[in-house]
Symmetry: C2
Subunit: 356 residues, 2 copies
């Protein structure tokens, strides 16, 4: 007889993830995920990378983002529907899976809506720690929506940002962000314009939501030595930077083939020079050339970051005893007798007891 | 304030699916899924189709198969690892999701291991009902592994097959199949060779598992008017039919770009003529030309069939009250305040009560 290998899958719902982040601490999650992302980018060549698969409709997009190394296959399901908030739904919802490459067994099914906000902010802050001027303490945060708290706290934890200048075309969004950040050791100021927020900042983060070719940052706003963290320009037809800002800067990207299509550089010629971030980490390309250079991290979100976040959440869930086991694939005693499931399977309790 | 739309996802585990099939009846599930598949192929042009995304390793493959129409997005995760049974695991494991195109909300997460066996058999039998000679009553079943019971019962239910001749290089597999089929109104005979099983059969189904370019059927075995249902030749390097069998037959496929890569026709020149099955259904192409023609359905499995099976399982689960609701994406009261989840979410029971 064949051996009975356990093939149950750990499930982390949004509530499990909330509990995990509450117990581990958001700052610890942000820095833990940043460490996993950095470790992933340092072994760039071990990953089987592909561009995402996108299904576009008139009102949004649904995407699958797969990636694998020799041990684990990961994918993320993620949508983008700008009209969702008006219907009481998040613009972006996501979940993902980790599976064993050697058998195909799914090991983890996890929510990735909250986790994506954490990994995006962790990636932004990691890039800034490498690319921004040492000693950067002030950041302008343009766009104060669902991602903004995570960006603020990641830059506080990972880069050492202590002063934030907020701007959003919706003052209620800035007020919500300021209220959420109260009492966390950050000096926060709400500004009346992008120009006011940007003036004198060490780092400028743009994380606006409109699905248009917007011009949030124009060349005259940019000061020597600034680092620009461009998060919101992340799909075809959605950009935030004036081409002149890119032209005058050193531009860093996650995975060039994807960013050429989705990033702010979609506005630039195909031969516009960019540097993949992993090259700066491994020393094969230069980062910032000096204190006066303007650097841009043209972030779109890459599957390697979801892989890193999924492994962090899996390990942290195990450490804290959070999550529950579900039966996503059969526990067949004899894998060659699938039909036997219909006869032998006890029709009893549908679920395993929860871990927590 | 935004309205609070429910965004919970119905989860059907393997145990739920077993209960669903036991209560609905396997024959009713096979014919119900076949009806959904036929309805899907009849509106072929409404689907956004793409080839599967595959991640190959030395020991197997993990694939994502997406498809969408104007209303629903579906994808299947599926692996293929021929060495798994020796480790006590199924060769193929699968699960899938249905989501709303208009918002990206995932509505159903379901096991698809058992369901894939059902949908593959339903597709085979549907194709045979259209392509085989009317009045076909006998079938040779070559390869008696995990898929074979489902093929046998689908052809009994949907095509009217009453006599089965079994052959497998492993006699234990044939004995297992015969035992599983006992008492279901089928006349079953275990044969000592493929030739013995095929001789005089109306339909020949090949559903062998070896990942090689095998030659299960050679031209001298084929008799005028036979319909060949070639299920096992379904990925690069895995075929079952001698090229001469294909050369002498009218060959029908699910989705030509995919079958050229994965099907038995991978052995044939790129201009080898094939007919997509949906064209026979809508009358834009001929099916069988006469009683003496040999027809081949070169089946590889297409995402539209998983879409059809997922919708059938979703509706049947609702009818029978089977499944449970899980929180795969946030139930945020304010979708623009994702961070608020970490403060407001009550850390209470992780799960909704099960439906059944």
């Amino acid at each position: 007889m064949s051996t009975h290998r356990p093939t149950r899958t750990l499930f982390l719902s949004t509530r499990h993830l909330v509990r995990l982040v509450q117990r581990k601490g958001l700052s610890a999650c942000l820095s833990g995920v940043a460490d996993r992302i950095e470790a992933g980018y340092r072994r760039w060549h071990e990953f089987d990378k592909s561009a995402r698969v996108a299904c576009h409709s008139g009102v949004g997009v649904i995407e699958l983002m797969p990636i694998a190394d020799a041990s684990q296959f990961a994918f993320k399901y993620v949508n983008g529907h700008p009209g969702n908030p008006a219907r009481g739904l998040p613009t972006v919802m996501a979940f993902g899976v980790l599976a064993d490459v050697d058998t195909g067994t799914p090991r983890l099914l996890s929510e990735l809506t909250l986790t994506t906000a954490i990994r995006t902010a962790a990636m932004s802050a990691l890039a800034a720690r490498v690319l921004a001027r040492p000693g950067s303490r002030s950041m302008a945060l343009i766009g104060n929506g669902a991602q903004s708290e995570f960006q603020a706290l990641a830059f506080c934890e990972i880069v050492g940002i202590r002063e934030l200048r907020l701007f959003d075309t919706d003052p209620a969004a800035s007020a919500k962000l300021a209220a959420n950040l109260a009492g966390q050791g950050l000096h926060v100021r709400i500004c009346r314009s992008t120009a006011e927020a940007v003036r004198g900042a060490d780092i400028v983060t743009t994380v606006t939501a409109d699905k248009t070719n917007a011009t949030i940052l124009t060349p005259e706003l940019i000061e020597p030595g600034m680092h620009i963290n461009a998060v919101g320009g992340d799909c075809p037809g959605k950009t935030e930077l004036h081409p002149g800002v890119l032209q005058a800067a050193a531009v860093f990207v996650e995975y060039e083939p994807q960013t050429r299509i989705e990033g702010d550089i979609q506005q630039m010629p195909a031969d516009f020079p960019v540097t993949e971030f992993w090259r700066v980490l491994d020393g094969s390309a230069a980062g910032r050339s000096g204190a006066g250079q303007v650097t841009v991290f043209d972030s779109v979100g890459f599957a390697l970051e979801d892989y890193a976040a999924l492994t962090f959440m899996r390990d942290t869930a195990a450490e804290l005893g959070i999550g529950e086991m579900i039966e996503l694939v059969p526990q067949a005693a004899d894998p060659k007798n699938l039909y036997g499931l219909l006869r032998d399977e006890p029709v009893a309790a549908a679920r395993e007891p929860a871990l927590a």
